[in-house]
């Protein structure tokens, strides 16, 4: 084998890393930089609409603001637990690492559930995209019907921005699940898909979005089958970078989308 031929003092004969760290981390940073441009473009699109349209709606009642504030607290707390997981992994404390990762996943799941509830409420009130299935018995006089008609850019940018972020959080929870539980997480993921698919009504966008979990479960099964490994401190740190990025993006979405569109009575 190739590694059998390597001498003991490997670090001394290899050229040191240009960035002083391992390539997995540099790779994740490069991915995050490209992803930040994706979110940057969506945030700029939202801001462009906010500036250029004089009658931009400010539809968020205190209920929505409280909901979004709790979601923010969930994400901030999940970042703290993620840091503690990375620290536990560096110390070689496997039990603590898994526990903190599960706590991070719980906070992330809480965020997605609250966000889903918020979306469902807005859709039932009439804020919707044309691609969403029609909600049966929806009154045309619902609060957001006029908003969707008068300023269609609001619904488009709102759902694109928050939907993209929700997708990232969902995939982040899956990523952490694989890092924490490896193969044991696959049946849990299939179970989550079934629950999400069957528990949501057919007119809800989440009824179709639930299939993201199925695709993720299949992709993760394939990855774990092709390259089974024990995830170490470096893998935990790289996963942590992704998770903190998701938190970071929300720090811009929350004030721009929710706080700037607060309904003051």
């Amino acid at each position: 084998m190739a590694e059998a031929a390597l001498p003991q003092n490997v670090a001394a004969i290899y050229e040191p890393s240009l960035f002083g760290t391992y390539s997995k981390k540099v790779g994740m940073w490069l991915f995050l930089l490209s992803d930040s441009l994706t979110f940057g473009a969506l945030l700029y699109a939202y801001s462009y609409g906010r500036i250029s349209i004089a009658n931009w709606p400010t539809p968020f009642h205190s209920g929505s603001i409280i909901n979004a504030t709790i979601m923010t607290a969930f994400l901030l707390t999940s970042s703290l637990t993620m840091v503690l997981a990375v620290n536990a992994a560096a110390r070689g404390n496997e039990g603590a690492r898994r526990l903190w990762l599960l706590a991070t996943m719980a906070c992330g799941t809480g965020f997605v559930v609250l966000h889903g509830r918020e979306w469902s409420h807005l859709i039932s009130e009439g804020l919707r995209l044309s691609i969403f299935p029609a909600v049966p018995n929806q009154e045309t006089a619902s609060e957001f019907v006029n908003v969707s008609k008068a300023v269609p850019q609001f619904a488009s940018t709102f759902f694109a921005l928050t939907g993209m972020h929700m997708l990232h959080v969902t995939l982040g929870v899956v990523y952490l699940g694989i890092i924490a539980l490896r193969r044991k997480f696959i049946p849990i993921l299939f179970g989550c898909w079934l629950v999400a698919w069957l528990a949501t009504p057919s007119y809800s966008p989440f009824h179709y979005a639930a299939h993201v979990l199925l695709i993720a479960a299949l992709a993760c099964s394939l990855i774990l089958w092709l390259k089974p490994k024990v995830y170490d401190a470096a893998d935990t740190e790289v996963a942590g970078l992704y998770w903190h990025f998701v938190d970071l993006v929300w720090m811009f979405i929350f004030p721009l989308v929710y706080i700037m569109s607060t309904k003051i009575i």
């Binding site: 760290t21 540099v26 906010r50 500036i51 504030t69 503690l84 990375v86 470096a234 740190e237 607060t262």
Partner: protein, 112 residues
Amino acid sequence: MEDASQLAIEARVAEEQRHHSVTPFFWVWGTLLVLTAIEVYLGYQNMEPKRMLTILMGLSIVKAALIIGYFMHMKYEASRMRLLTMCSLVFCLAMMMVFFPDAFRIIYLGVR
């Protein structure tokens, strides 16, 4: 197989992290929660949108710096890594601001 030099670097990074105290992370978490509370408070002040946007984005940049610096460990990375990632990010995002004058043109002059 994994590159042996990579494993050596990973082991060194993990060794460095073992010496990081977790106390600053709790302080950062508390600060982020306080800044969030300030943002929510500002949301209910009847402020001019442009002024409010400036304050909110300022607070968001402070929050982002805390997250990148402490939670994402950028504070502990080599200066070359910090410069490469942060300069390229700021430059690319700043380039997108080229769209804003057009938004102001629409709101002040209308669509022609």
